[in-house]
Symmetry: C2
Subunit: 182 residues, 2 copies
């Protein structure tokens, strides 16, 4: 096997393992994040289910962690068996799965980041008050969790480029097609 293919496979495996790790870390940080405050003798608890976008983030990262774990196992097993057969239908399945994962997690992070900005700065014109002044610890742990999710989704973007490469090179262009008129 050419050096470039060996490197590509190793990069893919490392990226998929890091996705599982970062997605799982994000999940744990966000789900275990809670802070209790006493406001005029009323006990108030901040938790991740208070924001719809964060629930979406937890679900998206859960799916990504499991999907990437399975893909990593597939990569390792395929390597040990010495059989990395790449049929077009299979390549299309991995490419579509990787693209869906990447876009799903980018959307989840963007929605959560929007909620985070409102929670930190408020939205004055709409009278949505900031909450992080009261729940500082909760917001900080949430920020670390979202950063971990961001790292996972950056890795997902690169993995989807690798699976695009693995797929579309199977449609290898012949010389004449590259300079034809249309």
């Amino acid at each position: 096997m050419k050096l470039i293919d060996r490197r590509m496979r190793l990069t893919e495996l490392l990226l998929r393992c890091s996705i599982s790790v970062f997605a799982l870390l994000a999940l744990i940080l966000v789900v275990t994040d809670t802070e209790v405050k006493l406001i005029f003798t009323i006990k108030k608890t901040a938790k991740y289910t208070d924001m719809k976008a964060v629930v979406f983030l937890v679900v998206a990262n859960g799916i990504a962690a499991v999907y990437s774990l399975l893909q990593s196992v597939r990569c390792v097993v395929g390597t040990m068996k010495g059989k990395v057969l790449f049929s077009k239908p299979l390549a299309w399945a991995f490419f579509s799965g990787d693209q869906a994962m990447a876009y799903l997690n980018v959307a989840a992070i963007a929605a959560t980041a929007e909620s985070g900005v409102i929670a930190r700065e408020g939205e004055e014109d709409l009278q949505w008050m900031r909450v992080c002044t009261m729940y500082g610890k909760f917001c900080n742990q949430m920020a670390i969790g979202v950063s971990s999710a961001l790292l996972a989704s950056i890795a997902m973007v690169f993995v989807s480029c690798i699976s695009a490469f693995s797929l579309f090179r199977l449609y290898g262009a012949t010389k004449d097609r590259r300079t034809t008129p249309w």
Copy 2:
């Protein structure tokens, strides 16, 4: 030129033109969206700049509309000149640009959708009150604008698949590599 290439080029051109149209439509609908209300003798005006996510959406759609217009012109000119030379560096540039556009707009829509959900339903636990009960017309026009932006970003996802195809098939896999051990 093979039929598949002819169809691919036509699909690409149609998708890029529709991105420009939908992105521009979204831009116009969102930027011209305003509603005035009299609340206890105080005149209050709802406008798109009240929400940070919507400003992000406007910027992202503006960039996408211009980028896609230029790409459409490139497609048409390349066709008329009968010269669609596809060098790897150029293919990498278009692929990267298309991927960036797609992820940028998916993120912008997710952030705006999150604000929209809060505006329509409120976020009770955080005492963020819903606003669409008061600014019904504003919210409805915003929803149409975001839907148009959503159509544009779906087209961007497909265009980025086409540019991935055009790029990575230039790295056409040779027969032996496909069944090698690693």
